[in-house]
Amino acid sequence: MKGEKFSILNVLSYLILILWAISTISPFLWVINNSFKTTSEILLNSLSFPKELSFRNYQQLGNYGNINMFKGFFNSFIISGSVVLLVLFISSLASFVLSRFDFRINKTFNSFATLAMLVPTFSIVIPALILVRKLGISGSYLSLILPQTALNLPFAILVLSSFMITLPKELEESALIDGANFLTILFKIILPLSIPGIVTVAIFVFLWSYNDLFMSMILIPIREKQPICVLLSLVSSIYGTNYGAMMSALVITIIPVLILYISLQEFVIKGLTAGAIKG
């Protein structure tokens, strides 16, 4: 918009916008800064810069009490990685049917999936715990992977099928005439064209799974198999007054997400706005 450059309204707007930006970044900078300081240095003045760049806090994270943050990392990548792959595979099968065919059952299936999205995890966790025991997978990675996959499927199907529906129909019709079967059409034609949608789904599912605390801490009670988020929630009680170690635990938990966000930001924002604005 054109107009007066230095109006009070403009100055005030900039001031508020910048203050909010500072409020968003400063807690993270405070934590990163303190993660390089000893606890006594933090207690002395938590706003000062570290006297020397020490990685001592980070070295402790391998074993502190019964918490191994690096093992937590490993567990998180196994669990969240499997959830992402499973969700992508299963949801692309379903999205293919929903977007490229018009069976009468599609509508019913759509409401079945959409309603499942409204179910809060609080309302399923107790029976889910019993269920994984009955299935004999209690305490294994699978006991968290399967429920998380199921909980993320509806979202993935919704996003992927609305992406696939925009692809031209002629593509697969000619392939079908050439005698290709549905699996070939899906994997050779539809999926390669759906990569932007797939990337968006993968990012959101990964973030959801990596950041989940409630389901993770209940379904995996065994310390050695818990993902990093669960371990981080225990840090404040187990690390006692070792604030330096807490800060470094916080930093390494955030790092993978930070990298993902910085490198794939456009996908995150596009996926979000497309979903919300379409309704």
Binding site: M1, A113, P120, L131, E173, L232, S233, T253, I277
Partner: protein, 289 residues
């Protein structure tokens, strides 16, 4: 479209059907079923007690506190999270500068886990070393104990609201950028101020996006757990209790799964009820342009 005879492609739906039924719908109905039982310690024995758990639910002070807290959260989230995000988005929209910078910075906390955000604020509230008290000391003021029975709810609300402002900011900014420039130009010729055109042009034109955001925010307040669990655990004396943290302490710390299931059922019904109410209130004719 393919010929309808090739129905065998329907087997592609089966894996999704099985997983969602087994791990979402079956546990959901089981929770409702278990809520009519006296069931503790995950034992194999449970006794049907009809509405017993619900009678206790109605009288439970912690449940009252959790519901009141959830409603306080609902109102503050609508005003300060969605409302503030809208103001920020309108500012960036009118300034037309720093679009990408503010978007990147504001959205960042959304991607971080509630656990990490919670721990970060837990540390920031610390007495000896915390961020807030360090700032107070810097300005020569006395240190404050930040989390007390009176302040606990407020102190957990700050990170809850703070984290998601960027989420709605991004949504509003994208919606605002879709409004054609002519609308503003003609308003400008008529002598309308920026605030006037924000209230009478921008907001009505993105109303359906605002409505979606409000219902997302309302549904979201019933999912709050991590931040409260890490900062206060619902205490002190239930002061910052929400339904999620109370369910966790009843069913897993207190080992009463029957009563926990009744709380789980309450969460479903409150969530559904509020979704229906918000949809009714926010429905307006969509302005097409």
């Amino acid at each position: 479209m393919f010929s309808q005879t090739k129905k065998y492609v329907l087997i592609f739906l089966i894996p999704s059907l099985i997983l969602i039924s087994t791990f979402v719908y079956y546990p959901l109905f089981s929770t409702i079923f278990y809520s009519f039982y006296n069931w503790r310690d995950f034992s194999n024995f449970r006794k049907f007690i009809g509405l017993g758990n619900y009678e206790r639910l109605i009288k439970d002070v912690a449940v009252h506190k959790a519901i009141i807290n959830t409603f306080i959260m609902l109102i503050t989230v609508i005003l300060f999270q969605v409302g503030f995000a809208l103001i920020l988005a309108l500012m960036v929209h009118y300034l037309q500068k720093g679009y990408k910078f503010f978007r990147t910075v504001y959205f960042f906390p959304v991607t971080i886990s509630g656990t990490a955000i919670g721990l970060m604020f837990y540390l920031a509230y610390g007495y000896e070393y915390g961020f807030l008290n360090s700032i107070l000391t810097f300005f020569g003021k006395d240190k404050i104990i930040w989390i007390t029975e009176n302040s606990a709810l407020f102190m957990v609300l700050i990170p809850i609201i703070w984290q998601y402002v960027g989420f709605y900011f991004v949504i509003f900014l994208a919606a605002l950028s879709k409004i054609p420039q002519d609308f503003y130009d003609s308003a400008l010729i008529d002598g309308a101020s920026k605030i006037y055109s924000a209230v009478y042009i921008s907001i009505p034109l993105i109303w359906d996006v605002i409505a979606v955001s409000l219902s997302l925010a309302i549904v979201g307040t019933f999912k709050v757990f991590d931040i409260v669990y890490v900062i206060t655990g619902g205490g002190p004396m239930n002061a910052s209790q929400v339904l999620g943290t109370y369910l966790h302490s009843v069913a897993f710390t207190g080992q009463n799964q029957g009563y926990g299931s009744a709380i789980g059922t309450l969460i479903i019904f409150l969530g559904l009820l509020l979704s229906v109410i918000t949809n009714k209130f926010l429905k307006r004719d969509r302005i097409t342009y």
